[in-house]
Symmetry: C2
Subunit: 205 residues, 2 copies
């Protein structure tokens, strides 16, 4: 979303069949809420295809990558690693530290902002190895309650970017939705104004 | 979460099998992020059971209800209805209006706050009828991009409550997670301090 740093979301583990929709939703949420890239396990090809298809239609830039070396990728990542887990520190307590670590903080003195660093956000799927808890610069809990990795990721990204991700503009889109009080209006991406054309982009659901 | 008003999340539509995990995650997210009750379609009994089980173990109050009259329930709801949809108005543009409508706004003059009203948040599943767009007081898009109903719900609730839901305390819990930088510590709900006991509450995943 920003040239200064890359924000990467990594889905750790995937059980084909059982996890397909959750993994797809992790990828789509990463895209919609400001990340630059998602890395999925290499057995999640179907989810990758869906996320790429949405990117083709609704715009980017957003990269989708399948990898089989997730453990090594996390270990070797040159940047800040956040691991989202219900056992972690409370997001409201550490979000400012994370923002400062990647250079998204508001400097008190002009020119005193931290330098931008890349950020890797790890979202657990099947059992996450203990080494990941130790490698992470921050283990972060969006509440310490069991709920949803998609919910945790979305609240974390919205707080990381302080809502700026909601104003993101999309490049190379075929179509876009026109926000409105009552309606379902989809127009060609270049179009400025249009009436409801009755079309319904086949979103995932 | 608050005695003054009830915040209810309603999942519209459910396809057994295919939607089980998404519906479960809608319910768990509603609970974890400050809603008081979730209403699921009556064919989502398995999801309801999971959410009730988590509430038994990790605390409440939180109610789970199965209903077969969702359309009538929405139509007759006495309070404010928000429908989350990628076609809706941008959440950043209308969140203050929603807060004001349910009496969660900050009054500029003491005593000028709006009176509390109940809030129903409708989360789409299978195709939502047009009448619901018309009944809703607010059709709201958490981005106008296709992503995840769980992501939309979680960002909406976090913004509705302005983060206060993260500090919620839980009653009648058997156990609780101790937030920490590196660890997976679960203690009896009444316990004040404890070392890592190595246990692992079977969360949904």
């Amino acid at each position: 979303m920003n040239d200064a740093r890359e924000v990467v979301v990594l889905r750790y583990g995937h059980r084909p069949g059982r996890d397909d929709r959750m993994t797809t939703h992790v990828g789509l949420t990463a895209r919609a809420l400001g990340a630059d890239r998602v890395i999925l396990p290499d057995n999640a090809g179907q989810s990758a295809e869906t996320v790429r298809d949405i990117t083709d239609r609704f715009g980017g830039p957003f990269a989708v990558e399948l990898r089989d070396d997730q453990k090594a990728f996390v270990g070797n990542f040159e940047g800040v690693v956040v691991h989202l887990t219900m056992y972690g520190e409370r997001v409201q307590d550490v979000e400012e530290d994370v923002r400062e670590a990647v250079g998204l903080d508001e400097p008190e003195v002009v020119g005193e902002a931290s330098p931008p660093r890349d950020l890797l956000v790890v979202v657990g799927g099947e059992k996450v190895p203990w080494a990941l808890y130790e490698r992470a610069d921050f283990n972060v809990g969006v509440t310490n309650q069991p709920h949803s990795e998609v919910a945790g990721l979305s609240v974390f990204l919205d707080r990381l970017f302080e809502g700026a991700e909601l104003d993101r503009e999309w490049a190379d889109a075929d179509r876009r939705v026109v926000p409105e009080a009552i309606g379902k209006t989809v127009v060609d991406a270049g179009e400025e104004v249009a009436d409801d054309d009755g079309s319904d982009p086949a979103g995932p659901s």
